[in-house]
Amino acid sequence: MWTSTSMGVPESVLLSVMGLSVVMVTLIILALVILVFAKVMGSSNAAAQSAPRPIPDPPGISDEVCSMILAVICEELHASPEEINVTSIKELK
């Protein structure tokens, strides 16, 4: 839209006000849409609770590793895997 090779300060300020307004308005619209959306999704918390996501494995503790550890312990205790019941494996930081 702008064709001249230079721009004075007044125009710069005008354009800047305009630009910051566009940014503001756009992000406000986005914020509103997100809010509306969260409502539509049936008050998100309820929705989230009614359809709980399958909890992904914490990184680093894959199924294989867990079962492998279990296997080692069984070896050591001379027990069969069915006799031992690992209720949870917690990752310590």
């Binding site: 839209m1 702008w2 001249s4 090779t5 230079s6 721009m7 004075g8 300060v9 125009e11 710069s12 300020v13 354009l15 800047s16 006000v17 305009m18 630009g19 910051l20 566009v22 940014v23 503001m24 756009t26 992000l27 406000i28 619209i29 986005l30 914020a31 509103l32 849409v33 997100i34 809010l35 959306f37 969260a38 999704m41 998100s44 918390n45 929705a47 989230a48 359809a51 996501r53």
Partner: protein, 383 residues
């Protein structure tokens, strides 16, 4: 042919004989940047390739960089000139944003949409720098716009805009942007402490709600659609950002999310850095304009921080003290550095105040905000 002639020829064609003072200065500059990247760890992933690109491009007669589109045969452009095709076509900045999207969790923003306002306010510096750049009379308005975007504190956005509005300034803008992003922990805290009261800094914000998977999946599609329709010129960049995020959140394309974050991202980082650096030829780089860009980049970062914190204070007032103004500064983006600065400044006042997750909202909002600002400039100046 005799021995003396060969030696003479060798010496004449050697770089020692033909180096200009500009090239020498650029080589020294590249060593300084390497030092900052390696020892001071200033965003080394990009500054190290950029500085090496500067180094290679300013070796006399090395033939490592020509602008491929000025040649009869693109394949004679040299190793860095060939890589530059990915910059010229805006391919690399888009791929970087694909990776950024795949690495970003927009959850804190969705949980607290008011973050978006802070992400908008922290674009103030873009316009301040734009005005200053125009005021100096050294730059065209296109160049001024590209310089302003440094204040967005997003490398790919800055390179994308510079490449489209002022390709001759890609190198100084990229160097300034990444350098200041690395300096965020030095630039922001004084401004934040100056603008906020002790009481404001002690505000503890209530825990964010959990965001459902569906919201996280729909969010990137929604943003890509709404913003790209409003400001079509920024669509390539923004859509790639949101595609990366969709890869991440949808949960059915792990492979693509992984490659976008790792192999593809790293390859593009190397090529982007090297070829952007290579555009910094001494005779063009060593001008007063470059110094002006460095100064204005600092101004842009400072005013963006100012804008974010002041708007944070407004929200603090409006919400009756529920918003800690310190998270406003995170709106400049520079993910996740700026959010960590909010956390650090906050916990210095009160050790039990954990602002990191709250600051992540404005932080990622700042990426969107800068993209919108970029889209506005592109719409206005690119046609």
């Amino acid at each position: 042919m005799n021995l003396i002639a060969i030696v003479e020829g060798l010496l004449k064609s050697s770089g020692y004989a033909t180096m200009t003072w500009q090239q020498l200065v650029m080589l020294v500059l590249s060593f300084i940047l390497m030092y900052l990247a390696i020892v001071k760890q200033f965003e080394p992933l990009l500054l190290l390739p950029i500085s090496f690109g500067i180094f290679m491009s300013n070796l006399p007669h090395s033939g490592t960089f020509e602008y491929f589109y000025q040649l009869d045969h693109w394949y004679d452009a040299g190793i860095l000139g060939v890589m530059y095709m990915g910059v010229k076509s805006s391919f690399f900045p888009c791929m970087m944003f694909l990776a950024v999207g795949a690495m970003t969790d927009f959850g804190p923003l969705i949980a607290n949409p008011i973050s978006l306002l802070l992400g908008a306010a922290a674009q103030l510096g873009i316009y301040c720098a734009f005005i200053f750049a125009n005021a100096t009379g050294l730059f065209t308005p296109q160049q001024a716009a590209a310089i302003g975007i440094i204040g967005g504190a997003d490398g790919p956005t800055a390179i994308y805009v510079a490449n489209n509005l002022a390709p001759e300034l890609v190198a100084p803008i990229a160097v300034a942007a990444y350098s200041y992003m690395a300096l965020i922990p030095l630039i922001q805290p004084p401004i934040m402490n100056l603008l906020t009261t002790d009481k404001e800094r002690r505000v503890k914000m209530k825990q964010l709600r959990k965001v459902s998977k569906a919201e996280k999946i729909i969010f990137p599609i929604l943003v890509a659609c709404l913003v790209s329709l409003l400001l079509p010129d920024v669509a390539p960049l923004l859509c790639m950002l949101m595609l990366g995020n969709l890869f991440r959140e949808c949960g059915v394309v792990e492979r693509l999310s992984d490659v976008a974050q790792n192999a593809l991202c790293n390859i593009c980082t190397i090529f982007l850095g090297l070829s952007v650096g290579a555009t910094a030829r001494g005779e063009l780089f060593l001008r007063p304009q470059t110094l002006a860009i460095v100064v204005m980049g600092l101004a842009a970062f400072s005013f963006s921080t100012f804008g974010g914190v002041v708007f944070g204070k407004v929200l603090y007032a409006v919400t009756g003290g529920k918003i800690n103004p310190l998270i406003g500064s995170a709106g400049v983006s520079a993910v996740p550095m700026a959010a960590r600065v909010s956390q650090t400044v906050g916990s210095k006042t009160d050790r039990t105040n954990f602002l990191l997750m709250h600051a992540m909202g404005p932080n990622v909002a700042g990426v969107i905000g800068s993209a919108v600002a970029a889209g506005f400039f592109l719409t206005f100046f690119a046609h």
